[in-house]
């Protein structure tokens, strides 16, 4: 049984995530079938692309009910990456499908204007530093100047401020860069593409006890 099961719905850099898990000293199974999640001590939900397409695939391929059960049991840490984090929400402005709803909130399009009226390029594409309102095992090993690769046009707006794990700054405003509630966590950036900073985060995820 591998350390991490990486959900594969054909959307997202599943290979790179698995490669970085290995680089971090763990073993990874790429799970294209929900049956492969059974017994997995940890799950990563990567995602790149459109919200609706991902939710449709999660449901049609049988991942959604299996993941719902794991989250309800509460003993399997789940980490959503990029679109995978956005899927944790109730809904997204990008589409019409309901999200997984494990961390209440909505996903909203990044504003094209800063508060001072200056135009803002969307998608947010590049490296940003992050800040955390409080400690959390997932972020304990990050350097104060840790920076991560972001590429997204939408951002999470959680109902509960206590669910905010990390913030970044873009377009003159704070944006949510990470969420966490119980066993469910998500990061907007791509740890698997953020070299040693992403590696530090994934190492912490591997150390996360169920």
């Amino acid at each position: 049984m591998s350390d991490v099961a990486v959900v594969d719905i054909g959307m997202g850099n599943v290979g790179s995530v698995a490669n970085m898990v290995r680089k971090a000293g763990g073993t990874a199974t790429v799970a294209a079938d929900p049956a492969q999640l059974s017994g997995a001590p940890r799950v990563v939900l990567p995602g790149v692309g459109a919200f609706d397409e991902a939710m449709v695939r999660l449901r049609e391929r049988g991942f959604a009910p299996v993941l719902d059960q794991l989250v309800e049991r509460g003993d399997v840490p789940v980490l959503g990456i990029c679109l995978g984090m956005q899927l944790l929400a109730d809904r997204s402005e990008e589409g019409v499908e309901p999200g997984l709803g494990w961390i209440p909130g909505s996903v909203r399009r990044l504003p094209a204007e800063a508060p001072d009226g200056a135009p803002v390029k969307v998608p947010h594409m590049g490296w940003s530093r992050v800040s955390a309102p409080r400690a959390h095992p997932l972020i304990d090993e990050l350097d104060a100047d840790a920076r991560f690769y972001f590429v997204h046009s939408y951002a999470y707006d959680p109902v509960d401020e206590g669910a905010v794990l990390l913030r970044a700054r873009y377009g003159g405003r704070p944006i949510v860069a990470g969420v966490a509630a119980g066993p469910v966590m998500g990061v907007q950036f791509h740890p698997e593409k953020s070299h040693r900073h992403g590696l530090a985060l994934l190492r912490s995820f591997l150390a996360a006890a169920p």
Binding site: G15, A50, V130, S153, L199
Partner: protein, 264 residues
């Protein structure tokens, strides 16, 4: 030292990206000047591994060999290159179908770079953007003759009959998430970026523009950002040569050097 309580300012938002742009020919990396006379630079696995250890922001790999020869995309080779690269990667080179785009992205690349497709398969740009997200689609525009000049595809051999600003707008309308603007006249010359060209294109579109072509000294890397509204800069010769004598030396500024260069 953790990120708890770190105070972020707007400087911490999206530092400008500085991107090595590497040219692939078969299984070798090469460097051209004004899109001609390819010279051997090195083995792709070694060079990528060196850039990975330098923690570069991103790498763009342009397969000029596959584009010219119209050979199938070398997916297994690309997957191998990506395996040890924990940085964002873009690949382009004659991509013409959605299946090829999907295969490249699945091989470990964040972005596909489409150039000739903007002319010959514009529907591919829209489809790839719709299916994979605009952020996965970089429109690459090669320009001869500067801001008033002409866009050329197919390794700068075919004139599409449009200027850079119009073609940039077309790319944005088709759904590209980002533009790579290359001055063919400056490429490989190390004479400096064509800032007028970059500024005109950046002003015409709402998507990020990567300036490319001409970087000869590290201090020039900030110019497209500070003077031409580019969101990122790409360079080939500057990062694979030690200077204008063109001795191969894979190099990249350190993070503190980059922050100083960008005035942060």
């Amino acid at each position: 030292m953790t990120v708890v309580g770190v105070e972020l300012t707007d400087d911490d938002a999206e530092a400008p990206r500085v991107i090595p742009c590497l040219l692939l020919e078969g299984d070798r990396l090469v460097k051209t000047q004004r899109f001609a006379e390819p010279a051997y630079v090195g083995d792709p696995v070694n060079v990528l591994s060196i850039f990975n250890s330098f923690e570069v922001d991103e790498i763009v790999l342009l397969d000029i060999g596959a584009a010219r020869a119209r050979t199938p995309t070398p997916i297994a080779q690309l997957r191998h290159y990506a395996e040890e690269c924990f940085i964002p990667l873009g690949y382009g080179g004659g991509l013409s179908t959605l299946a090829e785009v999907e295969a490249v992205l699945a091989a470990g690349y964040e972005k596909v770079v489409l150039n000739t497709a903007l002319d010959r398969h514009p529907e591919l740009v829209s489809e790839a953007s719709r299916v994979f997200g605009a952020q996965a689609v970089v429109a690459s525009i090669d320009v001869v003759g500067g801001v008033g000049g002409a866009v050329r595809t197919e390794g700068a051999t075919h004139d599409v009959g449009a200027g850079p600003v119009a073609w940039a707008r077309r790319a944005e309308e088709l759904g590209a998430g980002e533009l790579l603007i290359t001055s063919v006249d400056r490429e490989g010359t190390m004479e400096g970026f064509d800032l007028e060209l970059v500024a005109a294109v950046a002003a015409a579109v709402g998507i990020p523009v990567i300036a490319h072509g001409g970087a000869g000294r590290r201090k020039q890397l900030a110019e497209p950002i500070t003077s031409a509204s580019a969101s990122a800069v790409a360079a080939g010769s500057l990062f694979v040569y030690q200077g204008t004598n063109r001795g191969v030396l894979i190099n990249y500024p350190t993070r503190p050097q980059l922050e100083r260069l960008m005035g942060r």
